[in-house]
Symmetry: C2
């Protein structure tokens, strides 16, 4: 059975620690983020990151054409290439893909985004953010059935063929659902879902699938999107979603054997 | 029969013009460069490009670890993603690959480079430049036999699993040779091989395969590597190498029907 691992792109995530554990597995798809490094490179390029809050309360990166290129450079150029090389050095025959390749992650570009800035409402029209609606798994299946391990990252692609910024956790969830994966394992720099985001000892170890909706209120900031992704994956037939830490010993093996927050 | 097109990464190359022409073809591999944009982004990141001249007279980009990441970001993240998206919007089912994916372009990292700086000789030990020795075409054949068009770029990968900077023209030549391609078409911002690099009317229209060695003296700077790539490809069985312009009407079709410099 196939499983999907998502490595977050936040600060302080030990990516190599995850890759070294993954080297003992075969049938998996790895999805990764890159937000922290994108922020750093954006600053260096004199284009500091800007986050906007939609009127429905979601926070996302404001992604004009120039930001989209920076985003692609870091996610697909820097992080993806280095992960694939590291996996290759560990004996895993990895192939890097973005959602643009073979239209792997396809969706619509939000042509306008209504945001709140201070007390004012504003409409953004030059944003390249979108929502993934389709996973064209032909390419993934072809690679996996021939012994390759796909390493996937956003950008996704719009129906018009533009690269678009889309949420990486929800991309991982969509891939897991499309592959009918056994597990979706979401690794970040915290031990899992916390009751109190400031207290690492407040870990929620188990959530029955039927009660995940209640936990949307517990989840904060970026964790909210992770829980949304989990909910979407479970609704589409994934058996188990696990939130765990990338920074513990054998993070994938540990997560599969009980560490972190298990939703099933 | 398969053909390979290389689009250069120099200033003033109309990439979209090439892609629009390519949209009417099926069995090809596209290889692209990115040197000019890498120079620009390097400058912006406060890491201006540095070129070194080896004691044997070859000029190459000095590529320390940080430069390698910038190089990968631009080639694989910015240019490759945008080319793949553009081809997808034109109805071509493109998939982007670096030489790291599936160890597509494998070779050795030069652990030391002896260079000349002014009148002094120096040895560089932190350089990630290398030479491609093997093309693992399994991945290319798999994709092409399933209807995908590979869009390939450097970095390549070292035998130790490190991404390495390698010459894009010679990468294209190696791919063409490994695929036993019919044509290798190398498109840049000049009409082909020029007798006098400053005179666009001095185009050499035909070179018999056996006499290519003589033209190594005519070729200057970056064109020297292009001619070396052509020579390598012809030695390995490619029927025809064409140097032509990316900026004329239907550049691929024109090159195949006689424009530019034909070596056969």
């Amino acid at each position: 059975m196939v499983f999907v691992v998502k490595i977050g792109g936040g600060k302080g995530i030990n990516v190599n620690n995850v890759l070294e554990d993954l080297a003992s597995y075969k049938d998996f798809v790895l999805v990764h983020g890159g937000s922290d490094e994108t922020n750093q490179i954006s600053e260096k390029l004199g284009k500091p990151p800007k986050f906007v809050t939609s009127i429905s309360g979601h926070t996302s990166r404001y992604t004009d054409r120039e930001t989209l290129d920076i985003f692609s450079m870091v996610y697909a150029g820097k992080i993806n290439v280095n992960i694939v090389a590291k996996l290759q050095s560990l004996g895993v025959d990895a192939v890097g893909l973005t959602g643009v390749d073979g239209r792997l992650l396809e969706g619509f570009r939000k042509d306008t985004i209504k945001i709140i800035e201070g007390s004012k409402r504003k409409v953004l029209r030059d944003d390249f953010t979108g929502k993934i609606e389709k996973v064209n798994i032909g390419l993934l299946n072809l690679l996996m059935s021939n012994g390759y391990v796909p390493v996937v990252t956003v950008p996704a692609i719009s129906y018009e063929g533009e690269p678009i910024n889309a949420d990486g956790d929800r991309a991982a969830a969509a891939i897991a659902a499309a592959l009918k994966a056994e597990d979706l394992i979401i690794l970040s720099n915290v031990p899992g879902l916390l009751k109190d985001v400031n207290d690492p000892n407040s870990l929620i170890t188990e959530i029955p699938k039927a009660r995940i909706g209640e936990f949307m209120d517990v989840a904060q900031d970026r964790m909210k999107k992770k829980v949304m992704g989990a909910q979407e994956a479970l609704e589409q037939g994934i058996k188990r979603v696990i939130f765990s830490s990338a920074n513990i010993d054998k993070p994938v093996t540990s997560a599969r054997s009980g560490y972190g927050t298990h939703i099933q």
